[in-house]
Structure formats: structure tokens, C-alpha cells
């Protein structure tokens, strides 16, 4: 066979980090190619939260009185942005578990590529996807009469916090996707996404729930991000008297950091020990 195609010696000039990034880009490119070949999947993924917002806004908008006054969409949209980040978890889980089940992950692991590149590439592709999804949602919100009332800096900070949550959920998704061992197991986890989404301050003020439920909802990481986003966008929020609700901004940063601290090492460990 052609001798020039023989594997390069491992002392290649490219430094380690450069190689990892080049490999990660190749993996990201793979996902971008997926989008190009199956644009329907991406578009449905982006439009699903829009449908949800229309459904909830239309169904409950009239019946729900927003704390501090204002339209329900004004209250709902930051929550829905947060929920969109949670929906992204399913994309990550499905992609990771499908690769593992099909043996694609094993093939990657048998290559001399950087082992962190597989997850880095996944990370980049999913973040790009979520940025797209968030942009679509913000566009939809603006059409529905939602708007931000603070400065552009604060609005960008809100977007930053939302994407930080998405980044944290990415590692949760990678871990579950690797640990699940098959697409069937992931389906059952996907069902749980809904209660986790509902049991939060995304749709309503936790103060309107029974005390114990409200406490759980307040401690839901989604609640912190939703509350912080409302504050930064200048949308009506629910004050809430508990410590956790008083420190929404802090927790909107704290929860994701905590999630990453737990699930990143767990994912790395599971990836190394994959048995398949």
C-alpha cells in the first residue's frame, strides 16, 4: 500500500493541545455534517420549545396572574429559555448513547486521537446547537411581545448564564448517555425531563405551590437560572423569601459549576472504563 499514508510517527510537531483541538474540530464537523444532511432534526429541535411556549402561553396565559403584574409571556419567556437548555440534554444523551451502542465510540477509542477530543467535539457541537435554539426562542419571544428592559450588557449576561446551564447539563447528558448503555434506557430518562422542567420556577411562582413542593421547585437549578434571567432581562419575577430565592444570581452560577464539578469527572471516568 502507499507508504506515504502510513501512520505518522507519534513525535509529530503538533503539540498535544493543538492535536486535541484539531481532533475536537473533526468531531464537531461531524455533527455539522449531520445537520446539513438531516436539517429536519435540528429544525424540529429548535421549533419544539417555540411550540411549547405557544401552548403554555396560550393555555395558561389568561389564568395565571404574574407576580408584580405584567403579561404572562414577559414572565414565561426567561423560564422557557431555561427549559430550552434542559431540552438540549436530550440531544446530548441521544448522541452519546447512540455512538456507544453502535461501536462508534469504541472506534474513536481505538484511534491514536486525543481521548478528550471526543467529548470536546460533542461539547462544541451541542453548544452551537443550543446557541441556535436560544436565538430562535429569543426571536419567537420578541414576536410574541416579550422584550428585555435592561441594558444590552445585562441581556448578554442572561444569555451567558443560560448557556452556562446548558454547558453544565452537557456533562450530565454525556454521563447519562455513557452510563445508560443503550437508547432504550435513555428514553426512560427523557421522560423525567418533563417533571424536572415543571417542578421549578419556569412556568409559575413556586410560592403558589404547596410548601414542600415549592421548596423543591425553589432548589431546582432551573429555577435559579430562570429567576436570574428574569432579573437581568428586566422581566417580572417572583421574589420569594427563602435564601435560595434571594440568591438566584449566585445560584445561577453556582449550580452549573457544581454540576460540572460532579459530572465532568464522572463522565471522564465512565468514558475511560467503557466496556460496551
Amino acid at each position: 500500500m502507499n507508504a506515504t499514508t502510513r501512520r505518522l510517527p507519534s513525535g509529530a510537531p503538533l503539540p498535544r493541545l493543538g492535536r486535541a483541538l484539531a481532533d475536537a474540530w473533526t468531531i464537531t464537523l461531524r455533527d455539522l455534517n449531520h445537520w446539513a444532511l438531516r436539517p429536519g432534526t435540528v429544525i424540529v429541535g429548535w421549533l419544539f420549545p417555540v411550540m411549547t411556549v405557544l401552548m403554555f402561553g396560550g393555555l395558561f396565559g389568561g389564568a395565571i396572574s404574574v407576580p408584580g403584574g405584567g403579561g404572562y409571556f414577559e414572565f414565561l419567556m426567561p423560564g422557557m429559555f431555561t427549559l430550552t437548555m434542559l431540552f438540549g440534554l436530550e440531544t446530548t444523551m441521544t448522541a452519546v448513547t447512540t455512538d456507544a451502542a453502535r461501536g462508534v465510540t469504541d472506534r474513536f477509542r481505538s484511534l491514536p486521537m486525543s481521548s478528550s477530543a471526543v467529548v470536546l467535539g460533542r461539547c462544541a457541537a451541542d453548544m452551537l446547537n443550543s446557541v441556535g435554539g436560544l436565538a430562535v426562542m429569543i426571536g419567537a419571544g420578541l414576536l410574541l411581545g416579550w422584550s428585555w428592559h435592561g441594558g444590552p450588557g445585562a441581556a448578554l449576561a442572561a444569555v451567558g448564564l443560560l448557556l452556562l446551564l446548558r454547558f453544565a447539563l452537557l456533562w450530565v447528558g454525556i454521563f447519562i448517555g455513557l452510563a445508560a448503555g443503550g437508547p432504550e434506557a435513555v428514553t426512560s430518562v427523557q421522560i423525567l425531563v418533563w417533571p424536572v422542567g415543571f417542578l421549578s420556577g419556569v412556568f409559575v411562582d413556586p410560592a403558589t405551590m404547596p410548601a414542600w413542593l415549592g421548596a423543591i421547585a425553589a432548589w431546582n437549578p432551573l429555577s435559579a437560572t430562570a429567576a436570574a434571567a428574569r432579573e437581568l432581562f428586566g422581566n417580572p419575577g417572583h421574589g420569594g423569601g427563602s435564601w435560595i430565592e434571594q440568591h438566584a444570581m449566585l445560584m445561577a452560577a453556582g449550580w452549573p459549576v457544581l454540576l460540572v464539578a460532579v459530572f465532568l469527572p464522572l463522565s471522564a471516568r465512565t468514558f475511560r472504563r467503557l466496556k460496551g
Binding site: 501512520r7 461501536g103 469504541d106
Partner: protein, 343 residues
């Protein structure tokens, strides 16, 4: 012939899966594969074939033992090993959404080929594996044989000196199977060392220079396919009769030419006659039957198939003395027979 140089070696490799029953995983697995040869790893499901491949290709850590591939330690020099191996797993590990060409370019890039080289190589391989026509179609629409060929091509983007092929033809139709066999053979002709696991003995018979038979995580027999077959007992004549009376009458005649004990299969009216001199014995028994006025329905000269060797070694009671002779076949080539040592 450079028989002396082993490209793949394993010594006393052990691996237990937590919670798995005894006998699964590997229990003192030994292997030596000479450079440029094909080693067939044969065994029933759960014998440890895939575990062995996963350990040798650095996907799985062993509990104990030593193994090296292309001169590098599997445990401590994983990256070096990965730079020199290709892995074709049990299922076609290719991206279903991407096109065939996109798959190969991606694996070329991950193998550190520059973009232009990766594209060129992808086209070469598509041509070679007769996939050029389907190169632009998503793999999801490929047939089983096409996928396997693409899978094989994906592990060859950089012509690795060592290739692991784990049950390459499971679930393929005969035509597709033959295509894969041809592809593997061509690689070996180019000097690649291949470790092939299979449940199909025909496959091992066709492809492998040497065969290691695996049972409960250990190699119970090792040798060339021919060597293993003759070790089981050499040739025999199989005679099928029309009815039990004929079979009964033919027994003493058959016994006269037999070099060992007759094998009788009553319900099928069949007699197996072990023989030392193949054609002479055939002529003698046919003449004698003719003289006695017995006309057999069928009479054939047979040699044990790998299937029979396999069933003999893995079927009956474990560790009986009967297994041992086969295990010693061709022990001359290896330094000593690994299967004998580990007990």
C-alpha cells in the same frame, strides 16, 4: 518466513467482569501471532474472544498478565499501540448519518492525515472496496455487506500493521461474507498481521494460518487448521446404507479395513470407518461390499472438519484427557504449549 517474530503476544491475561459467572472473561489467556500471519480465534459465545480483542486493542484493561502488540505494551503504551492497530468491531462502527466518503475522511483526519490526503485516501479506499458508486449516499441506506466493507475501509485509512477483526461476517449473506474474506486476504498479502475472531469455522479454515480455540477464557488448542484436524483422528470412510439390515451385514466387512473403532450411527444406517490409507481402503471396502452383494447409498472419504475439532474440544466434559493430544499439535512452533501450562 520470519516465524520467530511475534507481532501479538499475550501471556496469562486475566479479566473478570464484576458480577459475571465463572468462566466468562479471560482466565489465563495466551497467544502468539507471527508477523504477517492471520490468527483465527475461535470459540463459542462467551468464550472470551471479544474480551481478548478489546484488551489487545486497549479498549479494556486486564486484571493480570502481559500483552504486547507490535512491540508495545498494551497496558503502559496504549497510544503507541493505537497508532499501529486497526479495529473492526462486531458491528459496523461507522456513522450512519454521514455518507460513506464523509466517514472515511473523518477517520482519516482523526488518524492525523492532512485534509487533502484524507480525501485522496477516502477515494482510494472507496474504489478498492467497490463503494465508489455509493460514496455520496448516507450510510444508513447501505446494505449489510456494504457497511462491513466501509467499516473495514475505515480501519485501513492508514494501513495499520496490525488489524483486529472481531466477527467480521456475523449476520452477512454468503456473497457479502465472501467479499469481506477477499478484503481480509488482500490485506494479509500486503503484510498486515490479522487477529480474527469468529464463530464460523469455515471462516477460520479459509482465512487463518493458525487457529487458537478458546474455551472459558483459555486457549485449549492451537495449531494450523490442518494440524488440528488430523490431530482429531485423521480420515475416515463414511458409508450410508438403505436400511438397518444392510448396515448390520456390512459391519464385519468394514471392520476389516478399519484402522480403529467403527463409528456407528444406527438410525441413519451410517457407518464411519477410520482408515490409515485413504484410497486403498476405499477401494478395498467398496470391492468387499460389492462382493457381498451390499449396495450402499453413499460412500465418501472424509476428513474431520474444524467444526468437529471444535465440538470435540469445547463440547464434552472440560479438561478430559481426550482433549490433550489435540492441544499438543504443533507445539513445536511455540516455545511451549500455553494451554498445558495454565492449569
Amino acid at each position: 518466513m520470519q516465524e520467530a517474530e511475534s507481532t501479538i503476544t499475550a501471556e496469562g491475561v486475566r479479566k473478570r467482569y464484576p458480577g459475571a459467572p465463572d468462566g466468562t472473561g479471560l482466565n489465563g489467556f495466551d497467544l502468539r501471532v507471527a508477523a504477517g500471519s492471520v490468527c483465527g480465534l475461535l470459540g463459542p459465545n462467551g468464550a472470551g474472544k471479544t474480551t481478548a480483542v478489546r484488551i489487545l486493542s486497549t479498549l479494556l484493561e486486564m486484571d493480570a498478565g502481559r500483552a504486547s502488540v507490535a512491540g508495545f505494551d498494551v497496558r503502559t503504551q496504549g497510544r503507541r499501540v493505537r497508532e499501529r492497530i486497526g479495529l473492526v468491531g462486531q458491528y459496523a462502527a461507522v456513522d450512519e448519518i454521514l455518507t460513506g466518503r464523509q466517514n472515511l475522511v473523518m477517520f482519516g483526519r482523526l488518524n492525523r492525515l492532512p485534509v487533502a490526503a484524507a480525501r485522496r485516501r477516502a477515494d482510494e479506499l472507496l474504489e478498492r472496496f467497490s463503494l465508489a458508486g455509493a460514496a455520496g449516499r448516507p450510510v444508513g441506506g447501505y446494505s449489510g455487506g456494504m457497511r462491513r466493507r466501509l467499516d473495514l475501509a475505515a480501519s485501513l485509512v492508514v494501513s495499520p500493521p496490525v488489524l483486529f477483526v472481531d466477527e467480521p461476517t456475523t449476520g452477512l449473506d454468503p456473497a457479502a461474507r465472501r467479499e469481506v474474506w477477499t478484503a481480509v486476504r488482500e490485506l494479509v498479502d500486503e503484510g498486515t498481521t490479522v487477529l480474527l475472531t469468529t464463530q464460523y469455522l469455515e471462516e477460520a479454515d479459509r482465512l487463518a494460518d493458525r487457529v487458537s480455540m478458546l474455551k472459558e477464557g483459555r486457549v485449549v488448542a492451537e495449531g494450523t487448521p490442518d494440524g488440528l484436524k488430523s490431530a482429531l483422528g485423521g480420515d475416515w470412510i463414511e458409508i450410508v446404507f438403505a436400511g438397518p439390515a444392510d448396515a448390520e451385514a456390512a459391519r464385519p466387512i468394514a471392520a476389516r479395513v478399519a484402522s480403529g473403532e467403527l463409528r456407528l450411527d444406527g438410525p441413519a444406517h451410517r457407518i464411519g470407518v477410520p482408515v490409515a490409507e485413504r484410497t486403498r481402503a476405499l477401494v478395498r471396502v467398496a470391492t468387499a461390499l460389492n462382493e457381498a452383494g451390499i449396495e450402499p447409498e453413499d460412500i465418501t472419504l472424509r476428513r474431520p472438519t474444524l467444526d468437529e475439532v471444535f465440538l470435540h474440544l469445547t463440547g464434552g466434559a472440560a479438561g478430559t484427557e481426550a482433549e490433550r493430544p489435540a492441544a499438543r499439535v504443533n507445539a513445536a512452533t511455540g516455545p511451549e504449549d500455553p494451554a498445558e501450562e495454565t492449569v
